[in-house]
């Protein structure tokens, strides 16, 4: 994936400015930054959900402004879904199959097979008939990953998937991300859990409206780098305030 000059604005407020980076097939990249740094805006722009400036090219195909978004799967923050609705796990996962073919049709037998494969991949086939409202946080996150996997994407965008997970669930999720990466899927993951970023993601991009660091995770997230990302940017913004 090649991103050049990406920018997102809401009215007069610039959320993301002139962001450019590349990701190779099978690369797992952590996206870090303080709250309000533009991480979610960047992911939504890449997923075609926000109107944005710049270009996003995946395997030579322009995937921008909602056109040809099929190679990119976006997993929103877990809290954005309405878990109290009593859909089953299978009904949620089969939704990923709508990325191909007609969006309005009822799920076909082929869709259900693909959803079953996705459930098996993430070890939750036994939960297929369970209402999503009865899931733990870790199970719910795996359901969302399975839904994205059912889209058969080349690039997976994750928005804070580790938030609110216990250590066991976080480890399971980390293993799933590593597995997807090893199978050739590129993963860009917005997150605040720096210990997990150091352990799972070889590369890290630090964002504060613009990219302030992009490189090997041990270098970007050393003590000095963390201070610059989370404290330095806040201090500089504080100083610039009249």
């Amino acid at each position: 994936m090649e991103v050049t000059g990406l920018g997102v604005s809401y009215g007069g407020h610039v959320a993301v400015h002139d962001v450019s980076f590349e990701m190779a097939s099978g690369e797992a990249v952590a996206l870090v930054g303080r709250n309000g740094a533009g991480k979610s805006s960047l992911l939504k722009a890449l997923a075609g959900l926000e109107h944005s400036a710049g270009n996003v090219i995946v395997h030579g195909i322009h995937c921008h402004h909602g056109h040809g978004v099929a190679p990119i799967a976006y997993v929103p923050q877990r809290s954005s879904a309405r878990w109290e609705l009593s859909l089953t796990v299978a009904e949620v996962v089969v939704a990923g199959c709508r990325a191909r073919g007609s969006r309005w049709r009822r799920p076909s037998a082929e869709d259900r097979d693909r959803a079953r494969e996705a459930l098996q991949r993430f070890g939750i086939e036994n939960l297929r008939d369970r209402p999503v409202g009865a899931l733990s946080g870790g199970q719910a996150q795996r359901v969302l990953l399975a839904r994205a996997f059912a889209q058969e994407p080349r690039i997976l965008l994750l928005d804070e998937p580790f938030a609110g997970l216990d250590s066991v669930s976080a480890t399971t999720l980390s293993d799933s991300i590593t597995d997807l990466s090893m199978r050739g899927m590129s993963v860009l993951c917005a997150m605040h859990e720096l210990a997990i970023a150091r352990e799972v993601f070889p590369r890290t991009i630090a964002l504060d409206q613009v990219i302030i660091a992009n490189g090997p995770t041990p270098l970007v997230l050393n003590a000095e780098g963390v201070e610059q990302i989370f404290v330095g940017s806040v201090m500089s913004k504080g100083r610039s305030t009249p």
Binding site: R78, W83, V92, A95, G133, G164
Partner: protein
Amino acid sequence: MTPVELIIDPFQTSFMQRALISCLAVGIAAPAIGVWAVSRRLVYLTDAMSHAILAGVAAAALVGVSLVVGGIAAGLFMALIVALLVIRVKVPEDSAIGVVGQGLFAVGVIGVGLLGDPRALSHVLFGNPLTVTAGEVAVQVVMAVVIVITGWFLGPVLGISTFDSTHARTVGVRVGLLDTGLIVVLSMVVVVGLTSVGVLMAITLITAPAVAARLVVPRLSHSMPLACALGSVAAVGGLLVSYHFSLPTGPTIAVLAVSEVALAALATRPWVHRGESSAARPAGSAMSAV
């Protein structure tokens, strides 16, 4: 008179047979799409829309065009004005719905008054299935079939976009178009119920059976048939009770539908099962992880 005769005898006359079909049409169609109005938290919008539709119906009657067209046009017009007020003028959504719904309702009351028949307003507001004609029943049945098929066909895509509209957009579902389609179908339901239960009571058949079904059946996909069954029971039961006790039919049907919610709540006692899934917990603090 035996209980069976109490149920069968009223339907010996042709006007009661037409009333039965008319009430069943709205009793099945309203909950079929009502489960989505309830799930997508569109009940207040639907309630206001049922008021606003009076303006379209009155205008259609005054100029001599189809009441169905007038009703749907009024529903869409209201949704458009609400959207403009919310997006462009930055009026809070509930305020916009309240203002536009009541404004169009007032226009509708004036319009119905211009029709010259003093009973017309009461018929439109509260319905009177005993006066429906064979032609009106045929239109109601056709519209009810269209509504139920639409609700069934769009069920999966409505389900996934209700659960997570952000993801639905990423896989190409046009959520705005889906919402517009839902508003059109809800407008059709109000129009279907116009002559049998009236615009004010139609909202009760849209919401109450759907709420009762959701209490009884946990799975969203299973609640639609149960809601339709409960709507049918309320419609037929209300018609019979109103016949035997000389009560207004529309409000009697509405009272039975609301009673189903009370019975479902007493039967399932949802207040006993407390607790929240950790799946719905909000994301954690950012700086706490540094």
